[in-house]
Amino acid sequence: MNIVVCVKQVPDTSDPDTEVHIDSTGRGVDQSKFSFVINEADNYGVEEAILLKEKHGGEVVIVSIGPEAANQVIRMALAKGGDRAIRLEDEAFAFSDVYATAKILQSAIKDIEFDVVMTGCMASDDGYAATGQTLAQLLGVPHAAYVKSVEVIDEKTLKVGRELEGGLLEMSEIKMPCVLTIQTGINEPRYASFKGIREASKKEIKIMDLAATGLSSDEVGENGSLSVLKGYSMPEVGELAEILEGDASETSTKLATILKEKGLV
């Protein structure tokens, strides 16, 4: 069973020093002080792929679009059990929307004989939550989104559970090859062992630039996108805050009511 996992390097939002500031162009965020991690949902994708490989054999290929610094995220996925990796990097890829991003990924994946492509269900930075679906369309294969369980039925079929509102699991069968966008919590991602890290340094990370993808500069970046990023703005501060008044038991009751109404607990 050959599995491709698409991973993205994103800013570490758990790092207290990660403050978001819009950069001077207005179309980007100042990333100079960020530390980076693998996108959380992608991390679950890596684990799910490795679990399936351990059970059914095959190869796990890690694919990522990103600068050289993204190698750390890729190496970690290799250290956990990925077999090889492809990293796509070219200045022309900047400002790619979901569609252009999916085209870039597809260019690297189309030559791999895959059974399953996994992506995270959503990236924690831009939150488009559509890369996997678009990629499936471009690859001409079916997809399932927000996948919370995967079971192999036979050589051609997977049974997948999709997580719906309130944790309801929708079970369906899907024919391979296919694309699954993986929901967090599907498994318990492992930590790379020292031996895994050592082996990862010997595994191949193939670099592909625009020329290697076979795409033209009109097909990627802003030119190849259906939507164009115009700019960011910071939220207005303060207007929606509700100050609860009263003694501790009153305010705690009010707070509990609000949290419950909003479906947060």
């Binding site: 190698n71 750390q72 190496r75 250290a79 930590y191 790379a192 020292f194 031996k195 890290i197 050592r198």
Partner: protein, 381 residues
Amino acid sequence: MDFGLTEEQELFRKTVRDFAEAEIAPRAAELDEKGEFPYDIVSKMAELGLLGLPIPEEYGGCGADMVTYCIGIEEISRVSASLGITMAAHTSLGCMPIYLFGNEEQKRKWLVPLARGEMLGSFGLTEPEAGSDARATKTTAVLDGDEWVINGTKVFITNSGTRISGVVTITAVTGENEKGKEISNIIIPHGTPGLEIAPPYRKMGWRYSDTRELSFVDCRVPKENLLGERGGGLRAFLRVLDCGRIGVAALSVGLAQACLEESVKYAKERVQFGEPIGKKQGVSFKCADMYMEVELARLATYKAAWVADQGRRYTREASIAKLFASETAMRAASAAVQIHGGYGYIEDYPVCRYFRDAKILEIGEGTSEIQRLVLTRHLGL
């Protein structure tokens, strides 16, 4: 000259940090309060390879260099000094003597399960009347036919009484030679009749590490359990201590780093006189000093580890690193509590625990005074 870490070392640091923050940090305060040895965490540490880092792969370890070993201890200790010492004592004192001085059969029998983390190892040197003066060992081992018969008491032995403790290497007097006492190392498997394990000590810090007194009452082990040359015990343990000192230095760096991070965090949050206390130089300069000293302690520790990786003797470097790093940790812990004020004196904030965990660093693996003694000898004084 290159002060950079390799990609492998950087990745390893990240993975151990992630592990420590996710698996240990949320439980550290409770474990400390209860003084419970966390078997489940130790077992996960074994899976990551943390219990046999510098031991070659052929003996069940990872074949990592000493710098990597230090990074591992540092990152675990940044979150948990108790697990830092569990790992450091197991590796430097449990595994290393058998790796350095064991014969092939001893390595196969003991080192392989130790380095895989299937059992914990310990080293018994200190006695009630032989602390800094290790030559004052009173424990005796007398050859009776094909067996050593051991009698005596060892104190402060880390990792010696857990469910997974498998073996303790001890120093014992095996006779007399021209220099006086003939001291040798002997391997004692747990479960040997006559090896009596006392309940754990009630310690100031390192509260969920396992430390005990061991008594040997006509404890018999096979003659082959002699580790290294007969009479070579003193020379051997001095080499073992070099590795142990690097371990405690790395532990100190991790603990001092934690003190620094908590102090900076609190200095940014805590408002007094209308501004965060970190705006006041009385506080910020303490943080700056801590920052500098932690960096220097780390450099000294990695330098010692690097010398060890070159295959050279590193007694001097290990001693400098251990002395400076442990005193840095104590100063950092003291400053961290001071910065936290009254909140630093209660267990709601981790610096309270850090302070209790720091003091022993200036004592174990050779006190600060003994380190200074080692250095004066290097100066020819």
